[in-house]
């Protein structure tokens, strides 16, 4: 319990979380505005009015807060690598020499923070979508679909934060960890999806889209996504595997 309180206090005594929350909200807003007012280049044969008639597309506008998941990944990475970068890990392990509970406390803390980020970003995308669509002719925002998105964003963002912590404890160099994670999210994952179709559903991004009901990207329905339940389980699987590897290496590591 003490370890958990300490982890929360760590987050609350720096400004990082607030900055990242602000960036994530701005990014979500941008996503909604683009989806409502513009049509992606790849889908120029249709116009935005037509896209807005498609129920799945409208629900994806609400779910577009999924794209803010990268900020949650970043907060997990910075939170963990920051301990090594500033050598506060020494104080952490002096206070709690049994390291496993520390890792659990960190995972729980960042999962909660991820979930909070998720809820706020969902509120922004739902609110902004409702406002901007008001004057237009559009398919309805279906409450039950939005509810699924809400559940998905809570689970998905919690998992992404844990993944960030795990990546950060495996790659302790902050810059390296951030670069590797961002290269994966923005370069490797899209490349794999583009060239090896079936990977889309099984990559973390595809699993997050599935659980969040984010079925439209670049103006086209994503093909072959898992069901929401399967996507959620897959995400949990990623977190468990990566988390266990990260914990085991951290338990043995010399802190010098």
């Amino acid at each position: 319990m003490n370890a958990l309180r300490a982890e929360f206090r760590k987050v609350l005594t720096t400004k990082l979380a607030l900055w990242l929350l602000a960036f994530s909200v701005a990014f979500t807003a941008l996503n909604v505005l683009l989806m409502v007012y513009l049509v992606p280049t790849s889908a120029r044969m249709v116009n935005s009015g037509q896209l807005l008639q498609i129920p799945a597309y409208v629900n994806s506008i609400v779910a577009s807060c999924a794209n803010a998941s990268v900020f949650v990944l970043i907060i997990g990475i910075i939170g963990m690598t920051g301990e090594y970068r500033h050598m506060t890990i020494t104080a952490t392990f002096l206070a709690s020499p049994r390291r496993a509970p520390v890792m659990v406390a960190k995972a729980v803390t960042y999962a909660v923070i991820g979930a909070i980020f998720g809820i706020i970003n969902f509120a922004v995308s739902l609110g902004l979508a409702t406002i901007t669509l008001a004057g237009k002719e559009h398919a309805a925002i279906v409450p039950s679909e939005s509810l699924q998105t809400l559940g998905g964003v809570i689970l998905g963002f919690a998992i992404y934060a844990i993944l960030g912590v795990a990546v950060g404890s495996l790659i302790r160099n902050q810059v390296a960890a951030l670069i590797i994670a961002l290269v994966f999210v923005f370069l490797i994952q899209p490349l794999l999806s583009a060239f090896v179709d079936w990977t889309t559903a099984w990559l973390p991004g595809g699993a997050l889209d599935a659980v969040m009901n984010m079925t439209y990207r670049q103006g086209e329905a994503t093909s072959g996504l898992l069901t929401a339940w399967a996507g959620g389980l897959l995400l949990i699987g990623y977190a468990v595997v990566l988390g266990v590897i990260a914990s085991i290496t951290t338990l043995k590591r010399d802190i010098t």
Partner: protein, 307 residues
């Protein structure tokens, strides 16, 4: 402090970093640190002091041997921060956190009340600066914050790694009195340093290592007693006196450039008695103070000095 006295024990500790040959940082090191005394842990840079302390604190796993705090490995302590307070070299602070924020995080991790944070800030003289970000702190202020962190749990044992680094002379004097008073309360105090003179006036006992191996271990006074003291003698009749001193067994006499005799192997009292018996007038007779720093340098120099 919980009231009980807690000794530290290092038993046949060996630590090799890396695979294969690796870096042998500590080699078959054994010593005990007693409560109620200040123990200096001395050795040149890279001799393995920080590694030993990190092993003692459960941060580094020994290759072989073990380390005990009050008879238990650190990792098995029930309430570590109330037992041991440590300020280690290269343990750090988040630059964006205030001193108060940093301490409140550590306090939370050990279930320590926030009021104690204010107390330790005042204790180390950071009451004013406590709400400023640590990023703007000087090295001396960071040392004080490290010390405050170590004191948070009012521990029975204090382990400080090079605490005098970055302190001004006034700070060093303050630290000396502070550590003496902690030991006087019955606490165990272990202070590392790479310069003996920095802690010479503070410590009761010394543990000296070189290249990870023990070279000397005991009270500070025993460190010097093994060395031959030099007695300086001035006399208007120094030639006759030197002759009679030179006749004594296992005594050496040399003359320095000012004409004074430097005698080893005889005490000042013995020389005085000899001069009296010979009717030689003396102008000066005194035993030279031990130059502990020289002793230390000799013990830890790379060529020699294994005790």
């Amino acid at each position: 402090m919980t009231g009980n006295s807690v000794a530290l024990e290092v038993r046949s500790l060996t630590k090799v970093f890396g695979r294969g040959e690796g870096v042998r940082a500590v080699s078959d090191l054994s010593f005990r640190v007693e409560p109620g005394r200040v123990t200096g842990f001395l050795g040149p840079n890279g001799s393995g002091k920080t590694t030993t302390l990190r092993c003692l604190l459960g941060l580094v796993s020994p290759t072989s041997g073990d380390t005990l705090v009050g008879g238990h490995p650190y990792r098995e302590l029930h309430d570590p921060l109330h037992t041991v307070g440590a300020a280690l070299e290269a343990s750090g602070f988040h630059p964006g956190r205030t001193a108060r924020g940093h301490l409140s995080v550590v306090a939370a991790s050990a279930g320590i009340a926030r009021a104690r944070v204010t107390e330790v800030l005042e204790l180390v003289g950071l009451a004013e600066a406590g709400n400023r970000k640590v990023g703007g702190y000087s090295l001396g202020m960071r040392q004080r914050l490290s010390l405050a962190t170590a004191l948070l749990g009012d521990p029975s044992v204090l382990i400080l790694d090079e605490p005098a680094n970055g302190l001004d002379p006034e700070g060093i004097a303050w630290l000396r009195n502070f550590l003496r008073s902690l030991a006087a309360e019955g606490r165990t105090v272990l202070v590392s340093s790479h310069v003996l003179s920095e802690v010479q006036l503070t410590v009761d006992d010394v543990v000296i290592i070189r290249k990870g191996e023990l070279v000397s271990y005991g009270s500070l006074s025993s460190l010097s007693s093994g060395m031959n003291a030099t007695v300086i003698v001035r006399s208007p009749d120094s030639i006759r006196l030197a002759e009679s001193i030179g006749q004594q067994a296992s005594v050496t006499v040399t003359t320095d450039t000012t004409g004074a005799l430097l005698v080893t192997g005889m005490s000042a009292a013995e020389i005085g008695a000899l001069a009296f018996a010979q009717n030689v007038m003396l102008h000066e007779l005194h035993a030279q103070e031990h130059d502990l720093e020289a002793v230390f340098l000799e013990l830890t120099s790379s060529e020699g000095g294994a005790a």
